[in-house]
């Protein structure tokens, strides 16, 4: 068993345990891959979350747009991008928040900030 994973600082490793924890969250995100469902989410976010049986804690993380909290709760980053899409938060905005920076501060750390 040479591949068992050790924690890495400031990094989430999406393994089966985390995936189990975030199963409902990721299932909801996956449903956002149709225009109709994205509209339904935007129209009634609370109702949409209830449909997917999210816990009160999970719902609060989405309401707060707490992206690091969602990652810690087992939402996979590629599935979180779909929540970003329906809430007006692109990847770099979510990333800046996870780094504890403003969007402008984050862009200033990039090599070629026009490549967006």
């Amino acid at each position: 068993m040479g591949q068992l994973l050790k924690p890495i600082a400031d990094t989430s490793i999406f393994d089966l345990r985390l995936s189990r924890r975030g199963f409902r969250l990721n299932k909801m995100c996956a449903s956002l891959c149709t225009p109709e469902n994205r509209e339904a989410f935007k129209r009634d976010e609370q109702g949409y979350m209830t449909r997917f049986a999210l816990s009160a804690e999970e719902q609060a993380l989405i309401r707060k747009r707490d992206f690091q909290g969602l990652i810690d709760a087992g939402m996979n980053i590629y599935f979180m991008i779909k929540i970003g899409s329906v809430t007006g938060n692109g990847l770099y905005k979510m990333g800046a928040q996870m780094r504890g920076e403003s969007y402008e501060e984050f862009l200033a750390t990039r090599n070629i900030r026009g490549a967006t």
């Binding site: 040479g2 591949q3 994973l5 050790k6 890495i8 600082a9 400031d10 990094t11 989430s12 490793i13 999406f14 393994d15 089966l16 995936s19 199963f23 990721n26 299932k27 995100c29 996956a30 956002l32 891959c33 149709t34 225009p35 994205r38 690091q68 990652i71 996979n76 980053i77 590629y78 599935f79 979180m80 991008i81 779909k82 899409s85 329906v86 990847l91 770099y92 990333g95 800046a96 996870m98 780094r99 504890g100 984050f106 750390t109 990039r110 090599n111 070629i112 900030r113 026009g114 490549a115 967006t116």
Partner: protein, 279 residues
Amino acid sequence: MGRVVGGIGLSHVPSIGPVVDRGRTQEPAWKPLFDAYVPVREWLAELKPDVAIVVYNDHGADFAFDKYPTFALGVAERYAIGDEGYGTRPLPEVAGDVELSTHLAEALIYEHEFDLTLCQELAVEHGFLVPMNLCFPHGANGWPVRAIPLEVNVVQHPLPTARRCYRLGQALRAAIESYPGNSRVVVLGTGGMSHQLQGKRFGFMNEKFDQWFLDQLERDPEALAELSHQKIMEQAGAEAVELIMWLTMRGAVSPRARRVHRNYYAPMTTGMGLISFEG
């Protein structure tokens, strides 16, 4: 018989898609990336491949964690353009090659004992489409090559090891060579290079690691295949583990294949690498 005429390792960063769709490829921030593909496209036009096998990972467009295959092969006549949460790109659907897919499934499962999941319906997304965009200009009605998706779990650990991905590439080469039809095949290994998209380390890149990976991929892929997921994630970011799919491409070309192109550009959050091999 079938023949592997070339292999390409390349990144599949999603932001490249809209840049292609909106005609922004010559903007200063993007030109260095697209310029690197001008000679690649010329080379491909000379190689005249019939089929591209694209080793990629889905990002929640058509695979979700209720059932998540380790390796999945497309065996369909055509592949729809997927919606991964922000709309369907205006691209023609991708023609597959059912005969070759069927042969690959039989050869890989019976002869080489890679127990693939077989997909008769599969919508493809940026992991597959961005590399296709970079290598093959599409027209209104289609693409210049048929294509076969080979999907790898690089998202939900436990992932296949780098060595297993390399061995899959070697098996793929043997399977292509035992195909009775006359097919010229290129294999695209996609993803990476260094990047991390979550946590405080969001935006982490490591050009030194990426250049070392490109060196090793050319010179000593057997040694590179011993890389652990842990080391890739520590050195190059958690999402850089996609790089194991480049080893499938490397296994599918000859150990003595000639390296033809190489490029590296890291503008925002991902080291966008390119390397090609002939023979």
